[in-house]
């Protein structure tokens, strides 16, 4: 039984046709993610920032599963939490000068950054609220991984091959840039 189906079954026990359980799960995930993201961009310890990033990425994975995109959610855990965060921790360790208590941005720059962030949030949020008033997500079943595979290897085969070449180029590029001569 999938997580989505389990949550929907839970709903029918609790409240008939509304989607209470899904909304509660969303609320908890969203709250945790936003608090962790705010801590990530304000903490002065670089290692703590990486660990807060793990919480946000796990929350995004939970959101994907809530939306019925289970394959993307699992890939998120594998690639982001398994690989990218470890890469970040290695980067932090190799630049030891920045370890521990760290820089403080000057207050003028920080004030401008807060202004830009709030403006981005207000403009994007306003546009979103204006455009998608009451569109609802009520997916009957989670998307099938087989369907994703079929679509990638038929309709999206050219972008897929381009991504594989891009990964190869990035691999070679990273080695060339970081290599000691």
């Amino acid at each position: 039984m999938t997580v989505l189906a389990a949550l929907q079954g839970f709903d029918s026990l609790m409240s008939g046709d509304t989607v209470v359980a899904q909304n509660i799960a969303f609320g908890i995930l969203a709250l945790v993610m936003i608090v962790a993201a705010l801590r990530m961009v304000t903490t002065s310890n670089v290692v703590h920032a990486a660990l807060y990033l793990v919480i946000v990425l796990a929350g995004v994975s939970g959101i994907f599963i809530l939306l019925g995109a289970e394959f993307v959610g699992v890939t998120q855990v594998l690639v982001y939490i398994g690989a990218i965060v470890v890469l970040f921790l290695f980067g932090i360790m190799l630049t030891r000068g920045a370890l521990g208590e760290d820089e403080e941005a000057d207050t003028e720059k920080r004030r401008m950054a807060v202004l830009v962030g709030v403006l981005v949030l207000v403009v994007t949020g306003g546009a979103v609220l204006d455009s998608f008033g009451d569109a609802a997500v009520n997916r009957a079943a989670p998307s099938l991984t087989a369907e994703i595979g079929d679509t990638i290897f038929s309709q999206y085969i050219v972008p897929f091959e381009a991504v594989s070449v891009l990964l190869l180029a990035a691999l070679i590029g990273a080695i060339v840039v970081a290599r000691k001569d």
Partner: protein, 99 residues
């Protein structure tokens, strides 16, 4: 669930990521904030995919995950090179190209 709640969550994460990119001076922290922005975009893509009940958006999210992995690899290599040459990854110190 409304579509809006996912889009607003993504907008909030995006704004926090923009703040991080602008306010931080440590190169590694700037790269982490860029990951936050890319994840906000992924939430949007998957949410639209769920509304339309197609897999197109999920496939684009997978592509973005792959591109983000490549970006972090190259970005961290550049930060390491910076640290090796200057013993600092403070982005405020990098101003050779300033006119």
């Amino acid at each position: 669930m409304l579509l809006n709640q996912f889009l607003l969550l993504a907008a909030a994460l995006f704004a926090i990521g923009v703040y991080g990119v602008l306010a931080r001076r440590n190169g590694v922290l700037v790269l982490m904030s860029i990951e936050l922005i890319l994840n906000a975009v992924n939430i949007n893509l998957v949410a639209f995919s769920a509304v339309r009940e197609t897999v197109g958006g999920e496939i684009f999210a997978l592509f973005i995950i792959a591109v983000a992995a490549a970006e972090v690899g190259v970005g961290l290599a550049m930060v390491l090179l910076l640290y090796r040459n200057r013993r600092s990854i403070d982005l405020a110190d990098i101003d050779q190209l300033r006119g």
